[in-house]
Symmetry: C2
Subunit: 341 residues, 2 copies
């Protein structure tokens, strides 16, 4: 039987998750200090001096996950916990999320960025109930910026500003909420990632991605009519932050395959609460008319559209669905499966 | 005859440029407030309410350039000024930089990001003497982060941190300075941009870029031996910030064509002072042995390699040159020319 929570309980969980994200981020920043040498000379013992950058990052990743898991276990001992590090170490790649209250955590998304001290990395914490992410926290510690949501209470950005904190509702452009371009994907910012599958094989994921990117980017009329002439193409190296920027309205369309639950759970919670849409990356047989289904957490295939305002003759939701279909006409299906899917 | 400046004069110019970048950034942030509505309800008159987002951005861009130009003219009336907005409005696309003391300014780089409130936009201010950028300031106002340099005095990042300011020397990873991977481009972060030229034409710039991106990304052995298996591909939508992140060591290789002087002048000053290398994007006839020439400001073709530490049997500079040649073997020459070039 599905467990239920009172409004007060959910608010407590949200407050706890926000604080937890920031404390976890502090550990990541301490790891950065070690590497830039600020604290390194003072604090590092002989043993740590022998660790190279990759060792430090791997250890920090494990430390942050252990910290987050401990804190959750102490406060909510009967909740389930799924973290990237513990999960990856196991052998099963089955769906692990059921109706139970479950925390889904990526202690460090954007590991390569973290290694290179590029600030586009984050802690991602989601609370999932009845298989739906209903609370999300994405914290960028180096920028001191947090994206978060509680179902029914809005999605928010908190950032450091003039020495204080400022809280803004997502999407950021909201007076009025920006409408989606009439000729979308033309005029849109398209967010995508090259990923790890780089096999140079016709029909492989890299080539399906590249063909899709070029379709979205090429001039109108190009690519046999598939040219989408997007306004810009962005690749940050963090799926979690791609979703946060979609929720903020900074990016319009995000299309990606291969992510796991912990990469997207918090982002999905925030995006939905901000008014965004998320469905499958892979076009159905008839992109023009087939139903646009809600994404399944763990499907590994994602197409997200930013929150959109109503305009004359079209609601925001209708505009989002129009953009989903225009994207589907231009992208190729990706091949990321999992046992049980 | 070339004009000379004393050390004290140059330090004054650097201090002035730093302050100017931050004040200009403040105007950009005020423009953001108008759009997110925080200040909008209070401050916007009836006329401004009628302006759409694009109008506000264009106006802000012009306002910032006018502000920067006025401040420079007041303090240094005998210096030349080249700004994106004033230059673009004119008809000439000749080289405009000579031996005179010249300020080269982009009031807003990453305009599309600014329109979408994605924080990867900046003010870029360079001071150029004898055709060489010797002072650079790149300020990201939404992140309150500044990259800057004065020739001979180092390159620096200043950012807001725990409510205060922190100054770090570039590159950020510097104890010891990170060495470049032995199998580069494998292991590197490759930074590139899709740009505005989207003609779907074999031999056009979009296809030359895409072929180059795929060569850099594909598995080792793929693409007829050209596969570079870079660790990650990043596209931010701001050439200026790409260069700042190369100087910081956050990105390893930046390859781009089509930029103008104001997009790169400050970044080149900062990158060189941090110990980076910048040359032409277009491979010479023999990439293995032809000399690696210093880039010409205004050539519109750029390949930048991050600062690199020495390792056994190889200086940092030798490693950078090795990476230049490995990149040249994988990229196709781009077609961006200018009158007088």
């Amino acid at each position: 039987m599905a467990q239920t929570f009172t409004e007060a309980e959910l608010k407590d969980i949200y407050t706890f998750a926000l604080d937890l994200g920031r404390r976890a981020g502090k550990i990541l920043v301490d790891g950065v200090e070690k590497r830039t040498g600020a604290a390194g000379a003072r604090d590092m013992g002989k043993q740590e001096e022998k660790m190279n950058a990759v060792d430090i990052v791997t250890q920090t990743d494990l430390d942050v996950e252990a910290f987050v898991k401990d804190e959750i276990n102490r406060k909510y001992p009967d909740h389930k916990f799924i973290g990237e590090e513990t999960y990856s170490a196991g052998s099963s790649k089955q769906y692990l999320i059921d109706a139970s209250p479950t925390w889904v955590v990526d202690p460090l998304d954007g590991t390569v960025n973290y290694t290179h001290l590029f600030p586009m990395f984050c802690v991602s914490i989601a609370f999932v109930l009845n298989s739906q992410p209903i609370i999300g926290v994405i914290h960028q510690p180096l920028l001191d910026t947090t994206y978060s949501s509680l179902v029914g209470y809005g999605a928010w950005q908190d950032d450091a500003h003039d020495g204080g904190k400022q809280r803004k509702r997502l999407p950021l452009v909201n007076s009025p909420k920006a409408i989606l371009p009439k000729e979308a994907p033309k005029g849109c910012i398209f967010s995508c990632e090259w990923g790890k599958d780089r096999r140079d094989k016709e029909g492989g994921n890299m080539w399906r991605k590249v063909n899709s990117f070029v379709n979205m980017a090429a001039e109108i009329g190009g690519r046999g009519g598939k040219g989408g002439m997007v306004h810009g193409v962005r690749s940050l190296g963090s799926a979690t932050l791609d979703l946060a920027y979609i929720a903020a309205g900074s990016f319009d369309i995000w299309w990606e395959g291969g992510c796991w639950e912990w990469d997207v759970a918090a982002g999905i919670a925030i995006l939905r609460e901000a008014g965004g849409l998320i469905t499958s990356a892979n076009p159905p047989p008839n992109p023009e008319t087939d139903p646009i289904e809600e994404v399944r957490l763990g499907s590994r295939l994602y197409l997200a559209i930013r929150p959109a305002g109503d305009s004359e003759g079209e609601t925001g939701r209708q505009a989002q669905e129009r953009v989903v279909r225009e994207a589907w006409k231009r992208v190729q299906g990706l091949d990321y499966s999992r046992p049980g899917a």
